[in-house]
C-alpha cells in the first residue's frame, strides 16, 4: 500500500510541478479575501476601540491563523474529481484495484497543498511583518491540541467533498451543487468573520455543522479561547461527523459507481 502511495505521489508531484504557475495564481486568488477582511475589521476595531470584545490585534491573529489552518484543512476534490466523471477518464482508475478517491484524489490534494505551501510560507511571513500580530494568546498546548483538530477537519471535509463530487455520477455536472456547498461553507465556517460576530441563530447552527471544524474550531484551539468542556464538546462533534461522513461517503460512492455510465466508452 505504501508503495502505491509513493508511486501516486511521484506522478502527482510531477504534474503539480508542471502547473506551478497556475498554482501560484490560485494562491494569490485564495489570499486576497482574508487580507481584505483583515483590513476591513482592523479598521472597524480601530475606529470603535473594539468590536464585541475583539481588538484589532484579535482580528489580525484570527485571519493570519485562518490562512494557516485553511491551507491544511481545505481540499480541491470537487474541482479535480467531477471532471473525471464528466469526461469518462475515471474508467481507467476504476479498473485499478485501488479506491480512486481515497488514493489518487487524496494524493493529488496533498501534492497541490505542498506546492501551495512553497509559495505560501514567504507570503505569510511578509504578511506577519506588515500586520505585526501579537500572538500572546497562542500557547504550545493550544497548538498541540489544534494538530488533531486540523487533521480531523481535513478528513471530515475531504470525505464530505468526496460525497458531494460523487453526485456527479447522477448529474454529470456538479458546478451548481458545488457553489451551494461553498455558500454553506462561507456562512458556517467562520471564513468571513469569527463566528461570535455572526447572528445568534447562525452561530447556534454552525456549532453543530462540520464546516467550523475546518476553520473556526482549530483557530479557537490555537488561541486558547476554549474551556476544557468546550474542547471536549468540539472534538465530540467532530468525531460524530467523522462517523457520519464515512457512512455517507461509502453509501454515495457505492450507489454512484453503479450508475456510472463512462462517457465516451
Amino acid at each position: 500500500m505504501l508503495k502505491i502511495f509513493q508511486r501516486l505521489w511521484i506522478v502527482n508531484w510531477a504534474e503539480q510541478w508542471q502547473y506551478r504557475a497556475n498554482s501560484l495564481m490560485y494562491l494569490l486568488y485564495w489570499l486576497v479575501s482574508p487580507i481584505v477582511h483583515v483590513a476591513v475589521w482592523t479598521s472597524i476595531a480601530n475606529a470603535n476601540g473594539s468590536v464585541n470584545g475583539l481588538t484589532a490585534n484579535d482580528f489580525v491573529n484570527y485571519y493570519l491563523l485562518l490562512l494557516i489552518v485553511d491551507q491544511f484543512t481545505s481540499n480541491i476534490t470537487i474541482h479535480i474529481f467531477a471532471y473525471k466523471v464528466q469526461d469518462g477518464s475515471l474508467s481507467g482508475e476504476l479498473v485499478k484495484p485501488i479506491h480512486p478517491m481515497l488514493t489518487n484524489t487524496l494524493i493529488t490534494n496533498i501534492a497541490f497543498k505542498t506546492m501551495m505551501l512553497i509559495g505560501f510560507v514567504p507570503v505569510w511571513i511578509f504578511l506577519a511583518v506588515i500586520f505585526k500580530p501579537d500572538f500572546a494568546s497562542v500557547t504550545w498546548q493550544g497548538v498541540l491540541l489544534a494538530v488533531p483538530a486540523i487533521l480531523l477537519g481535513f478528513i471530515v471535509n475531504f470525505l464530505l467533498s468526496g460525497a458531494v463530487s460523487s453526485i456527479a455520477f447522477w448529474t454529470t455536472r456538479v458546478y451548481s451543487i458545488n457553489e451551494f456547498y461553498f455558500a454553506l461553507f462561507v456562512l458556517f465556517s467562520g471564513q468571513f468573520v469569527p463566528l461570535q460576530l455572526m447572528p445568534k441563530t447562525i452561530q447556534a447552527i454552525a456549532h453543530y455543522l462540520p464546516f467550523q471544524l475546518q476553520i473556526y474550531f482549530p483557530i479557537q484551539l490555537i488561541q486558547n479561547k476554549l474551556s476544557p468542556a468546550e474542547i471536549l464538546q468540539g472534538f465530540l462533534i467532530g468525531f460524530i461527523w467523522l462517523g457520519v461522513v464515512i457512512l455517507l461517503f461509502k453509501w454515495v460512492w457505492r450507489e454512484g459507481v453503479k450508475r456510472f455510465s463512462a462517457v465516451g466508452a
Binding site: 487580507i35 481584505v36 506588515i130 460576530l197
Partner: protein
C-alpha cells in the same frame, strides 16, 4: 452602425446558445440571488458593529456593492468566455478567421461570446446602485449622480482596456494562459472602499490592477469627495487607457503569425 449590426448578430447567436441550457440558467439565477442574500447579510454584520467603514455609511456600501457587481458581471459575462476562446484561438491558429472578418478584430475578439443570462445580474447591480443612492436621501445632488455614472463608465473602460492589454500579451508569449486570473484574484478587493486598505494594497488595486478606479472612485464622486479637476483626470485616464490598449492590440496583432504556417 456597422458595429451595432454585428453586435446584435452576436447577441442573437449567444441567446440561441443559452436557450439550449434553460434549466442551467434558472439554477444560476437562483444561486445568484443566494449570493446577493449573503452579501447583504455580510454588510448587515459589518454595520451592526460599526456606524461607518472608513468614513462610509451603509447606503454607500450598498451602492458600492452594485458597482462591484457591475464589474463582476463584466468579468463573468464577457471577460472569461472570450478570453478562453481567444487563448484557444492563439494556440490552434483559429485566430486567422477572426482577422479575416471585415470587422475590427479587437471588437470581435472581446464581444463574440456573451453569457446572456447575466443581463439579469446587470439589472440587479443597477437596482442596488439605485437603492443605495435612494438610501442616502437628499444629500446626493444631480451633479454627483451624473459624475458617478460618468466615472463608473470610464472605470469599466479602464478595466476593459487592461483586459485587452493582458490578452494581447499572448501574441508575444504564446503560453500565457493565466492572462486574466490576476484581475479576477484582486477583484474581491472592490467590495469595500479602498480607503480602509493598507497603503501597499491600495497602491496595487489603484495603479497596477486598477479595480478601485471602477469601484471606489465612482462612489467617491457620488459622495462628492472629488474635485472637478480630479473627475476630469479620471475621465482622461479612461480615454487614455483605451487608446493605449488599442495600440497594444494593433502591435500584438502584427506579431501574430498563425499556428500552422
Amino acid at each position: 452602425m456597422h458595429t451595432l449590426k454585428v453586435l446584435s448578430a452576436l447577441l442573437k447567436i449567444n441567446i440561441q446558445m443559452s436557450l439550449a441550457y434553460r434549466a442551467d440558467t434558472l439554477i444560476n439565477i437562483l444561486l445568484n440571488l443566494m449570493w446577493l442574500g449573503w452579501e447583504l447579510l455580510s454588510l448587515s454584520i459589518i454595520f451592526n458593529n460599526t456606524s461607518t467603514l472608513g468614513g462610509w455609511g451603509l447606503p454607500e456600501l450598498v451602492a458600492l456593492l452594485g458597482v462591484f457587481r457591475l464589474v463582476n458581471t463584466l468579468m463573468i459575462a464577457l471577460v472569461w468566455p472570450n478570453t478562453e476562446k481567444f487563448n484557444q484561438s492563439i494556440r490552434d491558429g483559429s485566430m486567422d478567421y477572426t482577422i479575416l472578418q471585415p470587422v475590427n478584430s479587437m471588437f470581435l475578439t472581446t464581444f463574440s461570446r456573451i453569457t446572456i443570462w447575466r443581463a439579469w445580474d446587470l439589472m440587479l447591480a443597477i437596482v442596488l446602485i439605485g437603492v443605495g443612492i435612494n438610501m442616502s436621501g437628499d444629500s446626493v445632488t444631480l451633479f454627483q449622480i451624473l459624475t458617478f455614472v460618468l466615472l463608473a463608465v470610464s472605470g469599466v473602460i479602464v478595466i476593459y482596456s487592461l483586459w485587452i492589454v493582458l490578452i494581447a500579451l499572448t501574441f508575444w508569449f504564446t503560453k500565457f494562459d493565466n492572462n486574466v486570473t490576476i484581475m479576477q484574484a484582486l477583484l474581491d478587493s472592490g467590495r469595500y472602499p479602498v480607503t480602509v486598505y493598507p497603503v501597499w494594497l491600495r497602491i496595487i488595486v489603484t495603479y497596477i490592477i486598477p479595480i478601485a478606479v471602477a469601484t471606489t472612485v465612482p462612489l467617491q464622486a457620488l459622495r462628492g469627495d472629488l474635485t472637478v479637476s480630479r473627475i476630469l483626470l479620471f475621465v482622461a485616464i479612461g480615454i487614455a487607457s483605451f487608446l493605449v490598449a488599442s495600440q497594444v492590440w494593433k502591435a500584438g496583432l502584427k506579431r501574430y503569425s498563425g499556428a500552422s504556417s
